[in-house]
């Protein structure tokens, strides 16, 4: 009885990592295919971040369905408590917008133009905010940011992902000043690609970890 339940509930974990890996590699391949032309890349990046959010929401529902199915009627009340109210959804939406604005402001403070390249900066902030901040918001609820700051745990996938995406975006700015004259050096491509790399790295890391290194721990934890 225990084994199938553990296996069933751990499926969303794998699908999450695999799908985010597929999405990330897909967008990178697309960027490369479009020869890094900004007018093609920026919409693609926006669609990518939208897809990442949609994926997260979908996984959430899937997981909830799995939980309900496995745990049964006895704990359905608990599950109901966990599900979000309409006001929460609205709050998450509002906070997501705030996150995008916040990332945009931070990008400007770090040296992005205020008026010129507005679309590029906005795209960058949408990508980073949706990958690093909106997904935790969806997972953990409106208080996600406080929770993240409070527990900063290297073992939690959400925390590590958020940090890796920020660090990736930060490192992504480094090649911009080089005089190589490559199309991908244009703002915001390097930073977005850096963030996607951060995402890929954490997804790969957790995928490998959950499969090979200690699958038992994950199974236990998923109980």
């Amino acid at each position: 009885m225990i084994t199938p339940r553990g296996a069933w509930s751990s499926v969303p974990y794998f699908t999450k990592y695999i799908s985010s890996l597929v999405l990330g590699i897909g967008i990178l391949v697309y960027l490369n295919h479009s020869e890094y032309r900004l007018e093609a890349c920026l919409p693609a990046l926006r669609i990518y971040s939208l897809l990442a959010i949609v994926l997260q929401v979908g996984l959430l529902f899937l997981k909830k369905a799995a939980n309900e199915e496995s745990i049964g009627i006895s704990s359905s009340r608990k599950a109901k408590n966990k599900s979000y109210k309409v006001s929460d959804v609205f709050l998450i939406f509002l906070l997501s917008l705030c996150c995008v604005c916040g990332v945009h402001i931070v990008a400007v403070l770090y040296g992005a133009y205020i008026v010129e390249n507005f679309e590029a900066t906005l795209t960058f902030s949408i990508v980073v905010a949706s990958l690093a901040l909106v997904r935790p918001l969806i997972c953990l609820g409106p208080r996600a940011l406080q929770i993240l700051l409070e527990r900063l745990n290297w073992e939690e996938d959400l925390d590590l992902q958020t940090i890796a995406i920020f660090v990736g975006a930060w490192l992504g700015a480094l090649p911009i000043p080089l005089d190589w004259d490559r199309p991908w050096q244009a703002w915001p491509l390097t930073c977005c690609i850096g963030a996607i790399f951060g995402e890929l790295a954490t997804s790969g890391y957790f995928l490998i970890k959950s499969f090979i290194i200690d699958p038992i721990k994950w199974k236990n934890k998923s109980k």
Binding site: V106, G111, R143, Q146, L149, E150, W170, A173, P177, L178
Partner: protein
């Protein structure tokens, strides 16, 4: 006593290590920053009035009789040689090849009157450096050690000055940097702003519209027209672009027109100041960048046959050629060789050879005089080359009179040999690194750094400490003596010996330092990564060019990491095990509030500071803001606005530190330091405001107010110096409340006041039940007793900085001050939040943060280094006070 001794030891070690570092730096800079001493002497007409000139019975001329009366100098920025040269056997069509047919046409049709030559510039191939080279005839070095750093004005003897002195009227057209280099020299000027690289046509069309009219006038002797279109086109589109073709064709037509219109006794020079690379950039020393073109044409010129076939000409050769062609003295520090063939005209064809020789001999005399003077000032040339030059100059100057035609060409050859040798000799000492000395200097710095690192990381036993300190002291003295000795005896390789001494010292004392322990905290590693990034970045010129952006990026990163890591740590210690998920009220925490709000202010200030950046020459995309122009240069409409914003920020600069001190309670009482801190900044601000106002007033050159303009700055300097001395003598800015007298002084007549007074005195009596409590002193401002004098000194220094930076930059300095102060606040708050864990150790994050802050300010303006050094000290004091 023990504490004092310990501190004394630390100071000795710090001073010694700092001193050793400076020695290394001096040796390094000796090899790297090859400085050339600027000799501020001018050539005059009377220098070489030999018998030959007097025979010509012309009183007005100088050195040699003028060959041409007037000159038109067309300077086409970034005119590469292959733009101008015509290539018949062209297979592939490029937008920049064969687009200037005028040169080829003139050279082919009038080979005796026109010549086109490759014109070799010296690196660095930037316009400003090239203009200096083109007008002074000297070679560039990294630092021209002149006496004014602030102004761009050329202080060395130059062509324009010589022309003006000889009564020639110079008209300038085009690039407005000329006005900065030679203010008030030109008879007429048609200048256009040069900064917008995107603008290809304003300057060129401006010149073209005036050139024709100007040439028709007759009150000019020299016209200099500086076209920027080709350079801007290169920067914007690169050379291979249709715009370049149009531009080159326009230039070609223009040169053709001018050549058609000039009189017989006028000479036309068309030259480029540098070339460009394939991408249209310039600045380096590649062949494409240094090879530009020189075209000379005059209807009267009579170039001897079989000359100038494929020779290239150095850029410095232009100056003596123009000077002697127009009959003015060659600038004092010229090193070029006169192009003697250009001095032969139809008129002096008969004795053309003699004329050429005289020009060359004069040129040799001038160069020899310059080199001799330069050597007398204590500079060195290589001994061999100098001997050779002496011999050659002896040959040239002796027996000038008894000359026959056969010896003429031989003599000329000797002159040319002398001049080329002199140039090579100077290039050797001015334009080459001395790798040996650089290596030695770097080795000393590296070993001293190692020693410092070992001293910090290693735990020295107490009984060994005195020995180590003594050892370091003796070693420093010994190395300094070596250094002085090596300067006098001129032995190179000193750096290697002294670094060996340092290594030996470490080796001998290796047992003392055996307990080396380096702890790497998690947030410390961030600082190491950032320092490592800066280190690696300094090896790449792309990062060096945008250093201001890089530094502000890293500074913000460090500050953010500092702020957020302190939150994470604090929260972790609060709720270690369970994930509460409750909203932590991080802003309700006082320190947290300070931290977050300061973080916001720092970020905003650092970003806003970028509006005040000066554009580096390499940053071709950068358009300088109006802030860097002085108020007198602004249009009338924006002057008031500028003045009052500057005044407002000046007031804030003096008011904010004062308000801080008032908050800390340091402004009570009437001690001398407190009095000074209260009054001097206000006084200085008034003086500075007056100075700005006086500067903006348009003045006639000989109005009496002109003398008074300098008085406010002088008074400000004196006041600031005096008050710093006073603060140094009496630094304590605390106020001790005199012991309160509890006796009822007098019952007031006012009945309404009587009751409260009685009540208060009773209450006071009730509180003091013994005489002991009265002895507790009440002191204001004791908590900030250490930082208060520092802050007041910083305020004084800020006044000087505002004065030096000028009116435009005072908002920038305000922003910088706020950024620095809030950055220190973030550090202090984060230190406070981590205080329980770390004790009193100094974290590397703070050092990194301060280092970046320092570099940031240094990048913003040269002057601001001073404030920061003092601010860093106050940071440490301030954070230690917060810790206490």
């Amino acid at each position: 006593m023990g504490v004092f001794e310990k501190q004394g030891n630390v100071i000795v070690i710090v001073i010694c290590i700092g001193e050793l570092f400076i020695v290394g730096l001096l040796i390094f800079s000796n090899g790297f920053l090859l400085t050339r001493q600027v000799i501020e002497k001018n050539s005059t007409c009377e220098d070489y009035l030999d018998s030959q000139t007097e025979q010509t019975k012309n009183g007005t001329e100088c050195w040699v009789p003028p060959t041409y009366k007037r000159a038109v100098i067309i300077l086409i920025d970034a005119l590469r040689y292959d733009f101008a040269a015509y290539n018949d056997s062209l297979t592939e069509d490029k937008f920049y090849l064969n687009k200037m047919p005028v040169f080829n046409r003139l050279v082919q049709s009038k080979p005796r009157q026109a010549v086109l030559l490759p014109f070799i510039a010296d690196a660095p191939t930037t316009t400003m450096q090239r203009l200096k080279g083109l007008t002074t005839g000297s070679l560039p070095t990294f630092i021209d050690a002149g006496n004014n750093f602030a102004s761009e004005e050329i202080s060395e003897d130059n062509l324009i000055d010589q022309l003006v002195k000889c009564g020639k009227k110079v008209t300038i057209m085009g690039d407005d940097t000329w006005d900065g280099l030679f203010p008030r020299r030109f008879h007429r000027s048609f200048l256009y702003p040069s900064f917008n690289v995107m603008d290809l046509h304003t300057v060129d069309n401006g010149i073209i519209s005036h050139l024709d009219e100007e040439m028709r006038r007759d009150d000019w002797d020299v016209i200099v027209a500086h076209f920027l279109g080709v350079d801007h086109c290169g920067h914007r589109y690169g050379p291979n672009h249709p715009e370049m073709e149009a531009k080159l064709k326009q230039m070609s037509d223009l040169v053709g027109n001018v050549a058609k219109k000039i009189d017989d006794d006028t000479i036309l020079f068309v030259l480029g100041d540098h070339g460009m690379t394939r991408t249209g950039d310039h600045g380096g020393d590649s062949l494409e960048e240094i090879t530009s073109a020189l075209f000379v044409y005059s209807p009267m010129m009579n170039i001897p046959r079989q000359k100038f076939s494929s020779v290239s000409v150095a850029q410095v050769d232009f100056i003596p050629t123009v000077s002697l062609a127009l009959g003015v003295p060659i600038p004092y520090s010229n090193l070029g060789t006169v192009l003697d063939n250009i001095l032969v005209t139809v008129n002096n064809r008969q004795n053309g050879g003699m004329h050429q020789l005289r020009a060359l001999v004069i040129n040799v005399q001038q160069v020899h005089r310059y080199l001799k003077h330069y050597k007398e000032l204590g500079n060195d040339f290589s001994e061999d080359a100098w001997q050779k030059l002496e011999v050659l100059s002896g040959q040239i100057l002796n027996g000038f009179d008894e000359i026959d035609e056969l010896l003429l060409s031989k003599k000329k050859q000797i002159c040319v040999e002398y001049l080329s040798l002199a140039k090579i000799m100077c290039e050797d000492i001015w334009a080459k690194f001395s790798v040996l000395e650089m290596g030695g200097g770097m080795l000393i710095m590296a070993t001293v750094l190692l020693l410092g690192g070992i001293l910090i990381a290693g735990h020295v036993a107490c009984n060994e400490k005195a020995n180590i300190v003594q050892g370091i002291l003796y070693m420093t003295i010994a190395i300094n003596m070596f250094y002085v000795l090596s300067v006098y005896t001129k032995i190179s390789g000193f750096g290697y010996v002294s670094s060996l001494v340092v290594v030996m010292f470490i080796y001998v004392n290796r047992n003392t330092f055996n307990k080396i322990s380096i702890k790497v905290f998690s947030s410390e590693s961030v600082s190491f990564v950032i320092i490592l990034l800066m280190c690696i970045g300094s090896f790449s010129n792309s990062y060096v060019v945008v250093e201001n952006y890089v530094v502000s990026y890293l500074l913000l990163s460090v500050v953010m990491v500092l702020a957020f890591s302190s939150f994470v740590k604090q929260n972790k210690s609060k709720s270690n095990a369970a994930l509460s998920g409750k909203l932590i009220k991080w802003t309700s925490n006082y320190c947290g509030f300070i931290c977050v709000s300061s973080l916001l202010v720092v970020s905003a200030c650092v970003r806003a500071g970028s509006w005040f950046w000066k554009c580096r020459e390499e940053q071709s995309w950068c358009t300088p803001s109006e802030i860097h122009t002085t108020m007198a240069g602004l249009p009338h409409t924006s002057r008031n606005w500028r003045y009052f914003t500057s005044l407002f920020s000046l007031i804030l600069i003096s008011w904010l530190p004062r308000q801080w001190l008032v908050m800390c309670g340091n402004m009570n009482g009437s001690k001398i330091g407190i009095f000074i801190t209260k009054t001097i900044p206000v006084l200085c601000s008034i003086l500075i405001a007056g100075h700005w106002a006086l500067q903006a007033v348009p003045l006639s050159p000989n109005s009496p107010i002109k003398i008074y303009v300098v008085i406010p700055p002088l008074v400000t300097y004196a006041l600031v110096l005096l008050s710093i001395i006073f603060i140094f003598i009496a630094p304590l800015m605390v106020y001790e409340v005199p012991p309160s007298r509890t006796e009822i002084s007098s019952v007031s007549d006012n009945p309404y006041m009587c009751i409260p007074q009685l009540y208060h005195s009773l209450k006071a009596k009730y509180g003091t039940d013994g005489s002991k409590k009265q002895n507790i002193p009440i002191v204001y401002g004791l908590a900030t007793a250490l930082s208060a004098p520092m802050i007041s000194v910083v305020t004084f220094v800020l006044m000087i900085v505002v004065l030096l930076a000028g009116d435009g930059l005072s908002p920038g300095i305000l922003i910088l001050m706020i950024a620095t102060a809030t950055c220190i606040l973030v550090q202090a708050a984060s230190a406070w939040m981590n205080a329980e864990k770390l004790g009193r150790t100094i974290k590397y994050v703070y050092l990194t943060c301060n280092f970046l802050l320092c570099t940031y300010c240094q990048n913003s303006w040269f002057h601001c280094v001073i404030i920061n050094d003092s601010l860093i000290v106050s940071t440490l004091i301030l954070s230690s006070e917060f810790g206490v």
